[in-house]
Structures are given as structure tokens and as C-alpha cells.
């Protein structure tokens, strides 16, 4: 009899965080399974009560531990969310009712527990106010965790995940990523999840390979043995890998390790090309504690602080005082190094506070970012005042996102001046050195770069949005995401135009989009005349490495050549080719390279 041959299957998802992993998958199921219900009898009641309390206790410990992790990350909003979860676990009303019903019905704990959760769900759903209706979500998290202990059944929360597993879920939140990291997860696959989600940024910072647009059910149905390979470089997920493929990927892993340990040696060396061209290499950060990494990597400063992430899981708008104390602490921690605070970049794909109510038909073309701030002026003013007040403690600049017209820039500047006046009148100190920069991420802004350059102190190019708006491509839409190519000649031409105008008017220009962190782009960006690259701290070594190995004069020649190319593919090929020449041993970016 012929045995059925196990077939190697390759699924293609969207690559979110680079890296390669081989491991056993662990599924987190989204829908609740049917919970068994049975009678335990009078003699079984004691045992059921004990099981319920034990599950509560273990969940409580879990959340406490998780809170400890978040404390290290300085993630105060996550901590307070977990605080609420802890209080729900010890809610006297819920506990009393559940325990009473276990005793009176003589049924198993999980059945009664679920019944009560359904009752809570119904009560919450009947609330008039949508804001309070939404609060059920927090309880649901608690429910999942307790239930996973109660059923001793895997797959409803991260509680049972073994270390070195590949985590597969429909969607993950930020605390999930922290917990996954704490439990030693080696890769993450999700059905939904965008590049810009907080979870994605967290996974990148932690260096966990992450691929989205993978259907867990499909994956489960196709899997015939337990090894799964995740290639976070290409977005490929390989099921049932044959011995040759496994060997190939083990080699890639080895090469990646070798390369990354060689990067560690770069430490305090300067980002300077072979022919002596010095580059400002800064860090993008989302959380204040990441400033430690800025010092660790000897970065030039913080080129982009995404201030909105500080408050992303909040329900209310942070007041001026609270913001001030955060910015002040950050400024002090920076020790005079530049700190660029981008004002709240809200809306679009980032839901915020209570402002999730109105569903826009086309959010990326809607009321987001600077448009939102100029509409909700009290929020904007409070943030500006907080930043200005903190400015006496360090070297702070303000960055305005999504500027698309001179009017917007002038309006924002007028508000900044108004706030300065207010502070002076109240004799509250602020620095007069606060520079105001413009994000260039809309083609309209790029095309009037000359006008904007005359009215601001620096440019910061956001290439992710610039690419999306120039090419009219939503990169989180799987059907068209392959068209989201920052190597498109149109994008390169805009970059050239922006840097030319910045030079004409003598203001510095930096790039804080993802291409700044992709070392294949570095020679082109420097060749175009970009002064500063701002990347997540974890990418600093790779970018510094290519800078230290390249030649600036050669980069200028490459740039001239790239400007003559006609397609995205040609540009990408030219950049990859050049990178392979400069850094032949980096197989995170040179996908073909493996050391045999």
C-alpha cells in the first residue's frame, strides 16, 4: 500500500515583523467553545467551589505578573486596565452569586460561570450608552482567562502557551504581545492586524517575527505535522516542511544569529560612512521608557515620539498636568539630546479615547491627525501647553503630522504662539528654542515643500503615509497591499523634491517612515540628501552597520542611477543589489543569502 505523502504547503501572508522561526503552533480560538454542563451532586459541590476559587487565584496571579512586566515597560495605561481586571476577579457580587449557584444547582463550575458571564453580557448590552456597553470587553478578557484555567483547556488565553511556540490568533492586543514575549513565544501569526497597530510596533521592537493575513482555521486544516516555519521577511508560512526546507531555514536562523551578534559590536561607534560623511541616526519611540534604548544605542536623539500611544488605551483625554509630567520626565531623561514630540496623530486607523463614535466612510481621508486637532482645539491646546512647559527641561521640538496646506501649518503655529502668550501672562516658563517641524506625508505637502519650508524649522518625511497617499493604496488591504511599494519612482521623485526644497531654504530634513529602518534604502536616502534617519531603536544597529560600510560618493552615484529607473521592481532590485554588495552577510534583508 502506498502511504500518502505529506505535502509541503506555503501560505502567503503580510509580513509585519522580520525574522525567521521554526516551531510548533499554538492556537488561540476566538469563538467560545461549547462548555459542558453536568450535575456533580451534593458531594461534588465542595470540589467545584475549590476549582472555581483556584482558577480565580491563578488568573489573579497571572494578571499581577503581567502588570509587573508592564511596569518595567512603563506602560501605565495597560497597568490600569489590568487593575480593573483584578478588581473584576475579586468582585464580591459576582463571586457570591456564582458560588451560591454552584451550591444550589450542584452543577459544574464552568457551566455556572459561563451562565453568569452571559447574564453580564446581556445586562451590558442592554445599556443605552454605547460607551458603557463597550466596558463588557474588559470582563470578557477576565472571563477567557478564568475559563481557560477552569477547563484546564488550552486555547482560550495565553495562560497555557508553552515556550518556543508559534502563537496563532485572530487578533492580538498590546498586552497580549507583552504576555507572549514573557512566555517565550517565538513567532506570531494573526488573521487581522495592521503594520501600524500597536501590537505590530511592539512585536517589531521585541524582534518577534510576525505575519498577518493568515487564516488560523485554514492553517489548522492543512497542517499534517507539528513543525511550522514562519518567514517574517517574505510573509511566507510553510506547513509540513520537508527535511531540505527545514535544513535551509535552520541555516538561515544561524546566519541571522551570527549577523545580529556582529551588529552588537557596533555599540558606541559613530554612524559615519567610509569616506567620512556623518549621519544623524535617531530613534522612533512610542513609550517613555524606550529612552533607555536611545542611550544604549548612542542615538542622536528621539526623531519621533508618537505621543498618541501613551494614551492609546485610555478612555478619557489626558489632562495637561498629566501630559506635562510625562514630557518633563522624558526631557530630563534625554539629557539635552533632541526630543521631537509629534502631537497626537489620531483618527485614521488609530481609535482614540471617546472619539471612536463616528464611523467615517474613508478614515484615512477623513478627520484625522492635524485636522482632528484643529477641530478639537481644547485637546490640541492642552497638549501644546504641556509640551511648551516641559521644554525648559530639555531640547524639545514639536512635530505637526499630516500637514496638507500652508493654512494648516500657519493655524497650528498661531495656536502655538497663542499658548506661549498665555504661559507668559501666567508667568509659567517655557523655552524659546522650541522648533516646529512639519511632517511631509501627503503628496500635496511634498508639492508645496518650498512654501512650507519657509514657515517651519524642519521637515520629517513619513514615508508610510506618503506612499499610501501617492499610490492610492491601503497597505492593510490584502488585495492591493502588494502595490504599496515605497520604491515606486513617484515616491522617489517626491523625496527628491522635498529634500531639494529643504536644502534651498536651509532646513534639515529627516525620514521617520519604515524605509528609514530598512538598510537597503540607506544609501539612496543619504544620496538624496537626507540629514537624519529616525528608526525604532531595534533597527539602529542594522542601519548603522550599512552606513559604516558604505561610501557616500558611491551612494550619490547610485541615487542618480535610481532616478533614471522606471518601475518599483527595478528600483528595489537596484537597492537590493547594492545592499548585497555592501553587507553580503545580512540574510534578514538579502533573502537569498545563507551561509552553508
Amino acid at each position: 500500500m502506498k502511504t500518502c505523502k505529506i505535502e509541503e504547503i506555503r501560505l502567503k501572508g503580510t509580513p509585519i515583523s522580520r525574522g525567521v522561526a521554526i516551531g510548533t503552533p499554538f492556537f488561540i480560538t476566538a469563538q467560545e467553545d461549547v462548555i459542558p454542563e453536568f450535575t456533580v451532586g451534593l458531594e461534588g459541590v465542595e470540589e467545584e467551589l475549590l476549582r472555581y476559587r483556584r482558577a480565580l487565584g491563578r488568573s489573579f496571579e497571572d494578571v499581577l505578573k503581567l502588570q509587573g512586566m508592564l511596569e518595567k515597560e512603563d506602560f501605565s495605561d495597560g497597568i490600569s486596565l489590568l487593575d480593573a481586571q483584578l478588581q473584576m476577579m475579586r468582585d464580591p457580587v459576582m463571586t457570591t452569586q456564582i458560588e451560591a449557584e454552584i451550591a444550589s444547582s450542584q452543577k459544574n463550575a464552568e457551566a455556572i460561570f459561563q451562565k453568569h458571564i452571559f447574564r453580564y453580557q446581556k445586562s451590558f448590552q442592554s445599556l443605552q450608552d454605547p460607551f458603557f456597553r463597550e466596558r463588557f470587553k474588559d470582563l470578557q478578557e477576565v472571563f477567557k482567562r478564568i475559563m481557560s484555567y477552569l477547563c484546564a483547556r488550552e486555547g482560550t488565553s495565553l495562560a497555557h502557551i508553552p515556550s518556543h511556540a508559534i502563537l496563532i490568533a485572530h487578533e492580538l492586543g498590546v498586552t497580549d504581545i507583552v504576555e507572549a514575549n514573557m512566555r517565550g513565544v517565538i513567532a506570531i501569526l494573526t488573521k487581522s492586524g495592521s503594520h501600524t497597530s500597536h501590537a505590530a510596533i511592539m512585536a517589531k521592537a521585541k524582534g518577534i517575527p510576525f505575519v498577518s493575513n493568515i487564516d488560523p482555521e485554514q492553517l489548522k486544516s492543512l497542517m499534517q505535522h507539528s513543525d511550522v516555519i514562519v518567514d517574517g521577511r517574505t510573509g511566507e508560512v510553510i506547513l509540513n516542511p520537508g527535511p531540505d526546507t527545514l535544513l535551509k531555514y535552520r541555516n538561515i536562523q544561524k546566519t541571522v544569529q551570527l549577523h545580529s551578534s556582529s551588529l552588537k559590536l557596533l555599540g558606541g561607534l559613530k554612524p559615519e560612512t567610509v569616506d567620512g560623511y556623518a549621519v544623524r541616526l535617531s530613534a522612533n519611540i512610542a513609550m517613555p521608557h524606550e529612552i533607555d534604548l536611545v542611550h544604549q544605542h548612542h542615538a542622536y536623539g528621539v526623531g519621533l515620539f508618537r505621543s498618541e500611544y501613551l494614551f492609546s488605551s485610555r478612555e478619557t483625554c489626558p489632562l495637561e498636568e498629566e501630559q506635562f509630567s510625562v514630557y518633563q520626565a522624558m526631557a530630563l531623561k534625554m539629557k539635552e539630546l533632541p526630543l521631537v514630540i509629534r502631537v497626537f496623530d489620531l483618527g485614521g486607523d488609530k481609535n482614540f479615547l471617546g472619539y471612536t463614535g463616528e464611523v467615517e466612510q474613508n478614515p484615512s481621508l477623513g478627520c484625522r491627525s492635524i485636522r482632528f486637532l484643529l477641530k478639537e482645539r481644547e485637546i490640541f491646546k492642552a497638549q501644546l501647553r504641556a509640551i511648551l512647559r516641559a521644554s525648559v527641561y530639555g531640547n524639545i521640538s514639536i512635530l505637526l503630522p499630516l500637514i496638507s496646506s500652508l493654512t494648516e501649518l500657519l493655524e497650528a503655529k498661531a495656536l502655538i504662539n497663542e499658548m506661549k502668550k498665555e504661559l507668559s501672562q501666567n508667568q509659567i516658563p517655557f523655552s524659546n528654542q522650541v522648533r516646529v517641524g512639519c511632517m511631509i506625508e501627503v503628496p500635496a505637502a511634498a508639492l508645496i515643500a518650498d512654501l512650507l519650508a519657509q514657515e517651519c524649522d524642519f521637515f520629517s518625511i513619513g514615508t508610510n503615509d506618503l506612499t499610501q497617499y501617492t499610490l492610492a493604496v491601503d497597505r492593510n488591504n490584502q488585495a492591493v497591499s502588494f502595490l504599496h511599494t515605497p520604491t515606486h519612482p513617484s515616491v522617489i521623485r517626491l523625496l527628491k523634491l522635498i529634500t531639494k526644497e529643504a536644502h534651498n531654504y536651509g532646513i534639515p530634513v529627516s525620514i521617520c517612515g519604515e524605509i528609514a529602518a530598512d538598510p537597503r534604502f540607506t544609501p539612496l536616502l543619504l544620496g538624496l540628501g537626507i540629514h537624519e534617519l529616525s528608526v525604532s531603536a531595534c533597527h539602529i544597529p542594522a542601519v548603522k552597520n550599512v552606513i559604516r560600510r558604505m561610501n557616500f560618493a558611491e551612494a550619490k552615484r547610485l541615487t542618480q542611477y535610481v532616478l533614471t529607473l522606471k518601475t518599483s521592481e527595478e528600483v528595489l532590485a537596484a537597492l537590493s543589489h547594492q545592499y548585497l554588495k555592501i553587507v553580503p552577510d545580512d540574510c534578514l534583508y538579502n533573502c537569498e543569502v545563507t551561509r552553508s
Binding site: L81, A84, L127
Partner: protein, 89 residues
């Protein structure tokens, strides 16, 4: 010792949402008195975070606090102060 009743108003922007509710139950964690909130003729145990959330008390809601027990005076004082300072938000 005794029973105290006092009316307060929810002043903070988003009402008694998760954060204030967490603060309230933490504040009441070690108190010996029975504490209840009454809002729109509904009375709940104020030591239960889920019950507070389900009150769905938005900004400007009026809440009647009832405290009964040996430490009633202190508990009432602290609770009213918390409502007053908008739970530190």
C-alpha cells in the same frame, strides 16, 4: 456607627467608567461598612466594580451614597472627596 446618606454628582467627563470604578472599589476594599450607590432608582453594592459599571452613570448623574457600619463617617468622607476631585483625573 450608624447610617449615613449623601448625594453627590458625577463630575468627570466620561462618568463612572472603568478607571473611577476601579478607584472606588479599591478605596472600599478594606472598609467594614456596607456601601451602596443609588442612581435612577437602582441601588447597587459599591464594592462591586461590575455593578458600578452597569449603573452606566454618565457625567452629571446624581448618585446617592449610603454607608452603614462602624467606619461609616470616614468612608463617606473619602468617597465624597474622590467624587469631588474627579478621581484624580
Amino acid at each position: 456607627m450608624g447610617k449615613l446618606v449623601q448625594k453627590v454628582q458625577v463630575k468627570n467627563m466620561m462618568g463612572l467608567h472603568t478607571r473611577p470604578a476601579t478607584k472606588i472599589v479599591k478605596l472600599l476594599q478594606n472598609c467594614k461598612s456596607e456601601v451602596s450607590f443609588t442612581c435612577r432608582q437602582e441601588t447597587i453594592n459599591a464594592k462591586s466594580i461590575l455593578s458600578i459599571l452597569m449603573l452606566a452613570a454618565a457625567r452629571n448623574s446624581k448618585i446617592t451614597i449610603t454607608v452603614e457600619g462602624e467606619d461609616a463617617a470616614d468612608v463617606m468622607k473619602n468617597l465624597v472627596a474622590s467624587f469631588e476631585n474627579e478621581f484624580g483625573e
